[in-house]
Symmetry: D2
Subunit: 342 residues, 4 copies
C-alpha cells in the first residue's frame, strides 16, 4: 500500500450523521480528513473542536476549490444532496452521498449520468449494507440456504427523531428497502404505501409500505417515529429456512430457523385443518463480523477511489432506492393506490 496515494477527504454537513463519518474517515491511514464544511457556524465550531488539525469552513466553495480534497462526502439534509454532489462531480471530485441519494428520481438519474460522464466515483451511504448482519444474510440467500424467498417483513419504529425536511418513509425506509434489495438481489415492481400524519403540522410519521416483486415474493415494512418502544426486527422467509434479524439484540442479531411447511394432498375428512406438515428444526445464530459498518464502508470507498472501480453500493443502487421511495411517496399522496416503480 506504500505506493498508493493517501486520499484527501472533504466532508460537507456536520449535523447528526456527519460526525460519525468524520470519526471513521479521520482514523484511517489510507485517507486524510482534509476539510469539513458546515454552513452553520455553531456546527463548524464543534467540528473545529473535534478535529483541531482539520480545516473547517462554512463555505462549500472552499471544499470544491481545495486541490487536496480528492473526494467529498455529502452528509447534509437530503434536499441539498443533488446540488452539492453535482457541484462536487463537476469539480472533478469523487463523491459519497448520505442515503437517500436524492429527493427525486430525476436528480438521482442526473447524478448517475454526471458521474459516468465525468468518470468519477459515485457511492451512496446505505450503511446497513456494510454490517456483518446484512452481509451474512446476503451470503445465506445467495447460497440458496433459504430456498425461494416467500416474503420479507421489517419493523423499524421508535420515538423520534422527526426530520423537518422529509417524512418517515424518506428517513427510515431507505434502510429496509436497501436491505431487501441487497439481500435478495431483486427489485420490486410496484408499491402501495399508507402514510399517517399523527401531528398535523408535521410530515407523515407512521407509514406502511407494501412491495410486489412480480412473482412469488412480497415485502412489507412499517416505519414509525411515534412508537413507545424501539424495534428493529426483520424477517426473511424462504421455502426452506427463515431468518429473523433483530438489530436490538446485543449478540445473535441473526437467527436462522430451519422451519417451514409442506402441503400434502388435502384430506377433506380431517376436522378443521388442511394437511400441512410443519417442519421445525434447529435454530442457528451464525457468528457475525463485528466490525463497525462505517469503517468497512470507508475502506471500500477509499479502495474505489484509489483503484477507480465501481463501488459495491453505487449511484445505480442509490437510484433504485430513490425510485422506490418516490413510488411510495406517490402512493401515499394517492391514499394508498398501487404505483408501479419506474
Amino acid at each position: 500500500m506504500t505506493d498508493k496515494r493517501i486520499v484527501g477527504i472533504g466532508l460537507v454537513g456536520y449535523g447528526y450523521w456527519g460526525p460519525n463519518l468524520a470519526r471513521n474517515f479521520s482514523r484511517r491511514r489510507d485517507c486524510r480528513l482534509v476539510q469539513i464544511c458546515d454552513r452553520s457556524t455553531t456546527r463548524a465550531e464543534l467540528a473545529r473542536q473535534h478535529y483541531p488539525n482539520t480545516s473547517v469552513t462554512t463555505e462549500y466553495e472552499d471544499l470544491l476549490n481545495d486541490p487536496a480534497v480528492d473526494a467529498i462526502i455529502v452528509a447534509t439534509p437530503v434536499d441539498a444532496h443533488f446540488h452539492l454532489a453535482s457541484q462536487a462531480l463537476d469539480a472533478g471530485k469523487d463523491v459519497l452521498v448520505e442515503k437517500p441519494l436524492t429527493s427525486t428520481i430525476a436528480e438521482a438519474e442526473a447524478l448517475v449520468a454526471l458521474a459516468r460522464r465525468r468518470g468519477r466515483i459515485l457511492a451512496v451511504d446505505h450503511t446497513f449494507l456494510f454490517t456483518g448482519a446484512v452481509l451474512r444474510m446476503r451470503e445465506l440467500v445467495a447460497a440458496g440456504e433459504l430456498g425461494d424467498i416467500i416474503y420479507m417483513d421489517s419493523v423499524r419504529v421508535n420515538l423520534g427523531l422527526f426530520q423537518h425536511d422529509v417524512n418517515v418513509i424518506w428517513d427510515l425506509a431507505p434502510h429496509d428497502l436497501s436491505i431487501f434489495q441487497y439481500v435478495c438481489g431483486t427489485r420490486p415492481v410496484a408499491v402501495r404505501a399508507m402514510g399517517h400524519r399523527t401531528h398535523s403540522d408535521l410530515h407523515e410519521s407512521v407509514a406502511y409500505v407494501h412491495l410486489e416483486y412480480g412473482g412469488a415474493a412480497v415485502a412489507h415494512c412499517h416505519v414509525n417515529w411515534v412508537s413507545p418502544v424501539k424495534l428493529r426486527l426483520s424477517m426473511i422467509a424462504g421455502t426452506r429456512k427463515m431468518i429473523v434479524f433483530d438489530d436490538m439484540e446485543h449478540s445473535e442479531k441473526i437467527k436462522v430457523y430451519d422451519k417451514g411447511i409442506s402441503v400434502r394432498d388435502i384430506d377433506r375428512d380431517t376436522y378443521n385443518q388442511v394437511r400441512v406438515d410443519y417442519r421445525t428444526g434447529d435454530m442457528w445464530a451464525p457468528k457475525l463480523g463485528m466490525r463497525e459498518a462505517l469503517d468497512l464502508e470507508a475502506e471500500e470507498f477509499i479502495a474505489s477511489v484509489r483503484d477507480r472501480h465501481q463501488p459495491r453500493v453505487d449511484g445505480e443502487f442509490g437510484l433504485d432506492i430513490v425510485r422506490q421511495l418516490a413510488a411510495c411517496q406517490r402512493s401515499i399522496e394517492l391514499g394508498g393506490e398501487r404505483v408501479e416503480i419506474a
Copy 2:
C-alpha cells in the same frame, strides 16, 4: 343464586377449540354441559372419554331436540356457523358462536335479526375481549389516560395452523379487529388489505390490513401463519400515553409508556430537525386480572341467559367484525384497493 335455574348447555363442534369451551362450561356450577355433538365419530369418541357423564352425539338434531339444552355453543368451522346457529335460534335456544360469527355479512345480519325476532340471546366468542389485558386497555382508553388515539398496530404471527376453510385474515384478524373496536370504541370506515399466498394450493397465509377511522386515527395489523417466530404484539398510541401489549410475556403483558411528542414553532435555523419535544417519563405495568378468559366469558354468557339481558359481546358486535373481515376479503381480491365498510 339458589333460586336460579341451572342452565343446560349443548356444544356442537369438538375439534380444536370446542374442548376448551367444554372444559370451562363443564366446571361451572351455574350451568351443566348436557350434550356434545360432533359429526366425526372419532371426535365424538374423544368427547365421550373426556366427559363420561355427558351425552355425546353425531347428530345435531339431538341437541336441537333436547329440552334440557337451553343454550347451544357453536364451535365448528366458520362456514357451518350460520346454518347451525339459525337452527338453534329457531329451536328456541340461546346461542354462543365461535368467532367469526359467520362467513358473510348477509348471514350475520340474518342471525342478528333472527335472534331479535325470537327473543333469544346471541353472543359471539371473541375470547380476547374477556382477558385482563384487553379489559384494562379499554378502561385506560375510556378514562382518557392515553389522550386521543393516533394509531393502533398489531402483529400476530407464528408458524401454523393453516385452516382449510378460511385464509389467515378470517382466522387471526378477528382477534385484532375485535380488540381495536372494543378498546377504542370506534368502527373503521374503510380498509385496504394485501394478502399473499405463500403456497399456491392454499389460502392467503400472510396478510396486512390497514384501517381508516375517518379521523385522526389509523390501525394496521399483520397476520401470518408462516412466521419462524411467534409474536403477539400490539401498540395503541395516544397523544398523551402509549400502550404496548405483548401477549407472549409471562407477566407484565401491558406496559403503559408516559411518552409522546409535542411540536413547537419550527425553528428554521436548527440543523436537520424540527422543534419536536420528546416527552419520556415512567413506564408502568398495571396488575391484570389473571382469570382465564373463557371462564369469565362463560360466566357472562350464563348470566345473559338467566337474566335475559344482551351480552357484552353480542351479535351486533360480531356482525361489525364480519363486515370488516368481508371488506378485507374484498380488498384482497381487488389487489389491495380501498374498500368502504358497509
Copy 3:
C-alpha cells in the same frame, strides 16, 4: 403390546402435583388409574369430580388392599413419603415417589433396601430428567461436545409457593441437583449452603448452594421463593462449548455457544491484560423433543413395571439427591460450613 397386562395405578396425594400425575397416567392405554387416595375430604371430592370412573378414598389402606393396584404413586408432602412408600413396597406394590425421595438419608436408604429385598420397582419423580431439554443436554455432554465441564450454575427463583414442611432447598434444589448429576454423570463430594429466613416464622426461603466435585468442576445454585421475577436459568460451561438452558423461553430453551478461552504465554508487557484468546463462534439451538415430561415418565415407569427392569431414575438416584439435600441442610444449620456428602 397386546399380550401385556394393563398396569393398575393407585395414586396417594391429590394436592398440588397429584392432579398432574393423575392426568398423565389416566390418559395412557398401558395402565389404568384404579384408585386415588387423599386423606382430605375436600381433595378427595375434587378427585372424584375429575375422575368419575376412578375409585376415590381417604384411607390409604384401601389402596394397599386393592388387588387391582399394581403400582402406587406417592405424591404427598415429603415427610409422609417414607411411611407410605414402605407400606406400598411391603404390600407388594411397585412405587413411584414424588421428589425428593424422603426427608432423611436413613429413610431413603431403607426404601432402596426394601425395594431390592421385595423385588419391587422404586422410581423417583425427578420430572426434569424427562424433559427434552435435559435429555438433550445429557447427550451433548456425553458426546463430548462441551469438552471438560468447568462449572454449572443455576438460578431458580420466583415468588411463592412457600411450603409448610420444608425449606426452599428441599423444595426447589432437587431440580437443580438432579439435573447437574444426570447431565454430567458425576456426584458432588462436598457442599456449602447458605440459607436465609426472610420471614422469621417460616423456613429458609432464599438459599445458595455451592458444590465441589473433587476435581476441576464446581456447581452453584440459587433457589428463592421471594423473587419479584421468575427465572429458570442454568449454564453448563465446558472447555469447548457452553450451554445456556432458559426454561422460561417458549422455544429455543437450550442454546449451545461455541465460545471459550485459551491461554497463551503470558506477555508481561501487555498493558493490564493477560494473553487470553477468546473464541466466539456460532450459537446453536437444537430442536428439542416437545413431549410432556410426565408423559414420558409415565411411559418409562409402566415399562419398568411390566418388564421388571430398573427405572432410569431409580431409588439409588433419589438417594443420591437426598444425600446432597441433607448435606445442604446440615451446612445451613452450621452457618455455611463445608459438609462432605456421605
Copy 4:
C-alpha cells in the same frame, strides 16, 4: 462560575479505562486535561493522537512536577494505585483513583490518612454510583419505598476480559459491593467467598460472594469471566417492594415490583402449604437520568476540588470496599470459610 479557577487535570494510565476518563474530563469547561502519562510508549503515542493539544509523557514525575496539574487521576492496574496516589498526595495534588482504591487494606488506610494529613481530596472512581439507575435505587430505598431490605442479589457475568494482576473478585465485585453499600447504606460484617480457577494458569475466574449484615439482610453476588452470555442483573428485595436492575436493557433498567408476601396464622389443615399471602401489584419503571456516569463523576470531582469539600465517593468509601474485597480474598484462600470484615 466565572471567578473559579479552571482545574488542571493529569491522568496516569491510558490503558482500558483511561481513555474514557480522558474523554469525559477533556470536554468539560471547568477543567483542562493538562497532561497524560503512560509508561508504555505505544499507549502514550495513542494518547498523543487522541489529544494533540495535551502533553503526553511516559514519566510520572512529569505529572507530579507540573504546576498546572491540580489533580491527578490514577487509572493504572490496581497494584500501582498506592504508589502513584501517595506520590500525588505528597506532591500536593488532589486524587481520583480507579476502583478498587488499592490492593490491600493497609494501603487504603494509609492513603486515607495521608489525604487527611495533607488536606487533599481523595476520591474513588466507583463509576456505577454515578449512574441514573443506582442514584434512583438509593432514593427509593432511602424513602422507605422498599420497606426493610431482606436480600440483595447480583449476577455479573460475561466472557472476558481476564485481568493479569487480579482475580474476578477484585475486577468485577467492586461494582456490586459498592452498589450494595451505597444503595442500602449499610456495611457487611462477614463474608464467605468461593472462587474457582477454571484455567489453572490464571486467577480465579468464577466466584460467588455471600455477605452477612448482622441482621435480617444478606447479599450475594456471582462474578464470572467465563460465561457464554453477558448478564448484569441485580435484585434488591424489601418487605414492601422489590427492585430488579437489569443493566443490559436499553431502557427501563430499573423495575420496581409491588410484590411481597405476608404470613398469617399457619393453618395446619391446609394441604401442603402455609398460609402465606402473596401480594402482586403493579410494576413500575421510573424514568432514569440518562447522563453518562463519568460526566457526573467528573463534575462532582471538579466541584470537590474547587470547593474543598469531601467527595460523595471518598477514600473512606473506597477503603470500605477494599476491606470487603480483602475479606473475600481471604475467604477464597480458606476454601470458603467465614471471614469477618475488619
